[in-house]
Amino acid sequence: MKENLTIALAGNPNSGKTTIYNALTGARQHIGNYPGVTVEKKESIITYNNQQLKIIDLPGTYSLTAYSVEEVVARNVIINEKPDVVVDIIDSSNLERNLYLAVQLMELRIPLVFVFNMKDMAQEMGIKIDIKSLSNLFGVPIIETVGSKGDGIKNILDEALKAANMPDIKYPVITYDKVIEKYVNSVEELIKQHSTNIENYNTRWLAVKLLEGDKDVMQVIPSPIIQEEIKRANVDINEMLGDSPETAIASARYGFISGACQECVTTTVEARHNMSDAIDSVLVNRVLGIPIFLGLMYLVFHLTFTLGDPFMGFIEQFFGFLGEKANVLITHDLLRSLIVDGIIGGVGGVIVFLPNIIFLFIAIAILEASGYMARVAFIMDKVMHKIGLHGKSFIPFLIGFGCSVPAIMATRTLDNQRDRILTMLVTPFMSCGARLPIYLLIIPAFFDKNQALVLWVVYLIGIVIAIVIAKILGMTVLKGESAPFVMELPPYRIPTLKGVLMQMWERSWLYLKKAGTIILFVSIVMWALTVFPLFPENKVAEYEKGLSELEQIIEEKTAELVKIGYVVMTDENMQEAESINSKLSDRELAKAEKIAVEIEEANMQIDEINNKVAEAELEYSAAGRIGKFIEPVLAPIGFDWKIGTALIGAFAAKEVFVAQMGIVYSLGEAGEDSEALRDKLRENYSPLVGFAIMVFALLSAPCMATFAIVKRESNSWKWAFFQFFGMTAVAYIVTFIIYQTGRLFM
């Protein structure tokens, strides 16, 4: 019997290796419910049955292909340190994926024990495993455990000791397609003839790895003769099977696993999987997948507008009522302006979009909970591969439709640093919930007839730009290959009401919380910047020259009308005015109408003067001066200084853009409190400028929270600043192209 044995614990990420390691050794290593907790090997020495055992906890790996650092660490330990036995911890509830690593370990022809962990979860999912048959089939002892409860842990060491002392290995050899086997044999023969320093390796395993194109193994065996044979094999296998050797070998392994599972695993939820497969045949279809996704997006946006609008009306009325009351109750001019224009105009202008936000997030929650969003990542896999990423990177993109902060944190699931940084840099191009109020303000103002279509186009621009920029970055600053990954498709489920409402509530509460905190405070600051320094009284008097004369003219002319007995017609008094005026003679009527026109002209002149005063006051303010300073830079993309100041405020939170536009236009348009902000935007800007604003808000620098999280997750200010200035440059260029091209046609 061997003494001082070494036992290595291997397994997929999140299969419970560290839990079992802690249970075996009494250590307290950190455990997490996400992959990547164990990125380095950990060792402990214990005494069991009077034998000293070294237990090594390896990082989690899905395979032994050495695509990520964790895989390389695990593989090097198994091959170079030659543990006496490898214990593969397998998540029983996710058997087929976990067995892929198990099969690769079998190919190494090393002593093995399989631990089918989380058997309780598998039972809950209706999975029944015939352990005895499966153990016979694999020729490997299998133990069932529940690591979190300590069930079955003791048996692991007993079986490991038995396996370590087993005289020979009886695992079945996975046989590949004829053409692959032909080359496995020829390469194996060449390895034996032309290689040295390979005593640690099984030669068949080396041959298979070389055919798979494993770069690390190629470095171990640099023989040009073997490389020539591999090249021939590649061409031959591609021609014969229509797939690369790597794909064909992986398919054969999965075929082996699938066959074993067919024999030994039954599931009571098979019907659900079958139904999922039937739905997938349509939703994940190669041709229909992307059009269905785009169609669903359009439908969601359509519902966002149509269902949200009536509720928006109630909120608008509520803030309108508050504004009127504040106007009456507060007599101090500045304080009234702060409350009405700064707080009610700013924060109210943001809260008014809450119903649309609620409906959008209900729709996204339903799509997520049903399992459809996982399919979207799958559908996009092909497109993502073309830009040097894979479908897994699309998951942060999807989370980014809610908020960029958790989306950037979700990049932790990506295996290599290059994929992570690349995904992190382009994720904020996905239109987050904070940008939605900007679209909800602008789209109905300028694109009333095609609301859902325009919103759909804006979101699509974000996705397309993200893909294009990722491609450019992947070819320049972040060169490299993406790590392959097996996409998982969870079965479809009917979303629960509670789950959907919970997610909707989380988003809505965040929105309200932001409106009541950062947006409120920044709105007050923006109001102050838009009002102070106050416009000097003497300058106001200069502008208002002639105002009193005009007011006197109106007074006199109105008195003349009263004398004649003429009633000026308005929307409210049409019938009454018509009946009264019809009693006048033709001469009186002509004279009265001439006076009415003169009054109207005088009123227009007063409005003009008031607007000039308001404009001058705004330009005199701090915000006006900052805006005017940056205006020459913004002019080529169609923005004036007012939009410029709103965009600066948007760094704190994107919604501040809407708040600032509300403040600027409630201050700027003197005496027109009742008019909605959208009407004012329509008066001041063209639909082209409206569209340019949306594109710029979508693509420009992310908010400060995103900036901070990129710095933290990339552990580098460099990438945070690169993203900040890079996105702003992209936004400027794209907006410039759209605006200048649009001007040629409009």
Binding site: L334, T413, F521, V525
Partner: protein, 56 residues
């Protein structure tokens, strides 16, 4: 006069809170802006619980 004092006080307070919030967010000391709304910053547990990031 009282009105002016109230306005100036509100503006200064808002400016102080805004700058503090921006500083804390940028230096990573606080200011989780994601749905969890955690006052402890954007920790993985905070955002994963809010967004069900099981990462599997």
């Amino acid at each position: 006069m009282l009105g002016n004092i109230i306005v100036v006080s509100i503006v200064l307070l808002a400016a102080f809170i805004s700058i503090r919030k921006i500083y804390k967010t940028l230096t990573g000391k606080s200011g989780c802006s994601c749905a969890c709304g955690s006052s402890n910053g954007c920790t993985s547990s905070c955002c994963s619980s809010a967004y069900k990031l099981k990462n599997k």
